[in-house]
Amino acid sequence: MTEPTIPPLRTSARYRPGALEYLALGLIVLVIGQRWLVDLFDIPALQTGATVFVAIMIQATPFLLLGVVLSGAIAAFVPASFWRRVLPKNNALAVPVAGAAGALIPGCECASVPVANGLMARGVTPAAALAFLLSAPAINPIVMVSTFVAFPGEPELVLARFVASLLTAVVMGWLWLRFGKGEWLRIGPRTHLIGSSSFHTFRLTATHDFLHAGGYLVIGAFAAAAINVLVPPAVMNTVAENPFLAIGAMAALAILLSICSEADAFIVASFTEFSSTAKLTFMVIGPMVDLKLISLQAGTFGRAFAVRFAPTTVVIGIAASLIVGWVLLT
């Protein structure tokens, strides 16, 4: 009990003289300057960017909350022994089991980051938690149904999406098992989030995770809004005409647009110029790697993790899409 008392004193000394006062002052200045702010946002491009930014935040907030409530519940109400019971002891086997479990839980990518973090903090092997992190937003029932609706008459695309996404998630889990290093991953034993009761623990964990991940979601939403305004749609259409560029372009687009996995099928269905395999690549990469996810992962697991994990996932995801696309879509 002696150790933890030192850092709070240090932070207290630094923050006491004003976080709250600065916040109050800032809010007063903003409220007074509101007219000027509104005028500033009268420029159509800025206004469009602001709308897209708020839209992504409004759309993602319920899903992020669902994720932090789940992760809080995992921390507070599910004993660590539960995971040892349900997951195979053999880690190489636990990876596909966890990956397939992603098909059962309806959530989106914003929710799965705190959940995976919570699983790791509860002693689930990181490889299995990462397989779940990648597969849950990509192959859950809601996503499968929306893909089916977005591509009427092309059920093979739904199957291809399921297979390619699960394949990517499991391969990534195994790669982590073989080459991953624990030091890249920052999962603090969350002793500081243990409260006076189960409910208190739940509340502290959920609040902490929301504030932490939410800020990174803001960065991602901001970047996606900026790209939405800055990149002319005409540029995309030119790229689509080149079949070699198209697959890379679709992967890049999935990363830059940062669309929720529940909605991405509807978007990609509108890119009529692209081949089925290029569309599949978009739907495999999108739920696993995009601007808001990279930002969320960097915030949750640390930068060292994100710079390795995201590019590897892109490579494996493209490879899986090409293979599955070649087998199922031609």
Binding site: P8, A19, P44, V54, L65, G188, N228, G302
Partner: protein, 247 residues
């Protein structure tokens, strides 16, 4: 980050979500089906914020316990000191941005600017042959239904029919204006625009909402995603923005 500041951020964000959901402004950003989830989210944020505020007040009242209670939330002070230290603290501040954007700017629904940037207009519909239009003279249709029929059905189902559509004015750089409407699959980030060239109508400023009655006429092109069909208008009425600006 201090507990009271945490509480204020949560309360502001919860208040912002509640405000857009209550006032129907959420329809400028997301689909109608999100409403119950947004209410639940606002409730959760306000509850978490209120409980954090109670913690903060209790902390003030019992100064002896300050250190112990404070230790609960100084997450970065503990084990991952060496990596990105203040990270949790500063990233949470960013959550003020969406709350302030909602309270101070209240960004409107996407409009003419977004439509004018798009190059494609007509996504091939699911069915090759659209069913006949429902009865009615004029018959109310959505813009995407009209464009789908005009472009991918060679206008067969639109012949000799008067249609009525509601959308906003988007100036056509080549002259005249398009009647336009955006549709969203999930949120405004994925909005896709639909345009129809209106003939025989007075020039109106961009983003004016109008209800146009008229008849389809060939000449806008068919069987191409770039085709913009033409409507010869018989009446154009300026109307208020509909409750849901997207279709």
């Amino acid at each position: 980050m201090r507990r009271d500041v945490q509480a204020i951020i949560l309360l502001l964000l919860g208040g912002a979500v509640l405000r857009v959901t209550w006032s129907d402004a959420y329809l400028n950003y997301v689909r109608e089906g999100m409403r119950p989830f947004l209410f639940i989210s606002a409730g959760l944020l306000l509850a978490f914020g209120a409980m954090a505020m109670v913690d903060a007040i209790r902390q003030l009242r019992t100064p002896a316990k300050v250190v112990a209670v404070d230790g609960l939330e100084n997450d970065d002070a503990h084990d991952h000191d060496d990596h990105d230290h203040d990270h949790g603290a500063w990233s949470a501040w960013l959550l003020l941005l969406p709350a302030l954007a909602i309270f101070l700017i209240a960004p409107p629904a996407l409009g003419a600017y977004s439509v004018a940037r798009e190059t494609t207009n007509a996504i091939p519909p699911a069915e090759a042959q659209a069913p006949p239009l429902p009865p009615g003279d004029p018959v109310e249709v959505t813009l995407s239904d009209f464009v789908g029929r005009a472009v991918w059905d060679s206008g067969l189902t639109l012949q000799d029919r008067q249609v009525r559509m509601t959308g906003f004015v988007t100036p056509n750089p080549a002259g005249g204006w398009w009647l336009a409407r955006l549709s969203i699959a999930c949120c405004a980030a994925d909005a896709i625009g639909t345009r129809i060239q209106v003939q025989g109508a007075p020039i109106l400023p961009a983003n004016t909402w109008v209800t146009v009655t008229g008849a389809w006429t060939p000449g806008g092109g068919t069987m191409s995603a770039d085709a913009i069909p033409i409507l010869v208008s018989s009446s154009v009425d300026v109307v208020p923005e509909p409750r849901n600006p997207y279709e």
